[in-house]
Symmetry: C2
Subunit: 124 residues, 2 copies
DNA sequence: ATAAGACATCGGACTCTGTCAATATAGATG
DNA sequence: CATCTATATTGACAGAGTCCGATGTCTTAT
C-alpha cells in the first residue's frame, strides 16, 4: 500500500502542503492549517495536548486532565472539544469515562510544516 | 564560538522545553510557547511568514508583502508587528524600505517541540 | 522648505474567545 | 424507579483580536 500524494486527509490538514519555508502557502492552504495552530495556541490546550500525548499509551481520561488544572470542568471539556474538532485528539467513551488520545501523525505533520528548513537553491 | 546549551534565548522561547509528546509541558512553559503559536495561528500571518521564509535570502520587503494581499497597508503592518514581537521575524530598515527576515531557528525549535514523536519507554 | 513615498500608530467598529454557573445527558447502582 | 457520578451543552459576559480610515514619522528628492 502506498500513502498516496493525492490524498487530502481531512484529519490531517497539515499534510496538505510543503514546509512553510520552502514554498509560499496559498490562501487556501493557510486557511486549512491555521485552525490547527489556533487550537494549539492556547496555554491550557497546549498543556492538555502535552499531557495526553506524553501519557503512557498516548491517551488519558478526562478525569485526570480536569484535576491537573485550576479550572472548572466545563472549561476543560470545552478545550478538549476544540482540540478534538481540530483533529488533534481522538475521543473514545469507555463506560462512564471518556478517553482522549493524541493524533501524533497530525502533530508530526504540523511540526514538519513549521519547522523544516528552507531548501538550498540548486546550482544552475 | 559555541552556542551554549545553557542560554535561554528570549527570542526562541520554544527552545525552552522538550517536545510536547515526551514530557508534560508546565504551565510556565506553555505560557512561553503559546504566544509563538498564536502569532502563527492566523491565515494572513501564516502566509506572511511563509512568504518571507521562502523568499530568496529568507527576507522580504514590506512593499512586496503588502501587494500580496487584499488587505489595507495598516493591517499588513499590524500582522508583521505581531510576528516580529513574537520573535518570528527580524526587522531591518534600509533607506526608505523595511525588510523582514524569518527567524528560522525559532521556527525549527517550534517544529521540534510540536512534531517530535513520543519516546519509547526503556526496558526495565 | 516643500512635497512625495514607505511604513507605523491610533481610534473605532465589529467579531471571536475563555471562563463560569447552571443545566442536560448518559451510564452505573441500589 | 430514583440516585449518583462523569462528561457535555448552554447562556452570559469580559477581554482580546481583526480590520479599516485617518494621521503621524522618517527618508529622499526637488
Amino acid at each position: 500500500m502506498s500513502k498516496s500524494l493525492v490524498v487530502l486527509s481531512p484529519a490531517d490538514p497539515a499534510a496538505c502542503c510543503p514546509p512553510l519555508s520552502q514554498v509560499p502557502l496559498s490562501a487556501e492552504q493557510a486557511g486549512q492549517v491555521a485552525p490547527l495552530l489556533k487550537a494549539l495556541a492556547e496555554p491550557v490546550r497546549l498543556r492538555l495536548m502535552s499531557l495526553v500525548a506524553s501519557h503512557p499509551g498516548g491517551e488519558a481520561c478526562v478525569c485526570d486532565l480536569t484535576n491537573a488544572f485550576d479550572l472548572s470542568q466545563p472549561t476543560i471539556s470545552h478545550h478538549l472539544k476544540v482540540l478534538h474538532e481540530a483533529g488533534l485528539l481522538d475521543r473514545e467513551k469507555r463506560g462512564v469515562w471518556v478517553y482522549y488520545g493524541a493524533r501524533t501523525e497530525a502533530l508530526a505533520s504540523l511540526g514538519t510544516l513549521i519547522g523544516d528548513p528552507p531548501q538550498q537553491p540548486g546550482p544552475g
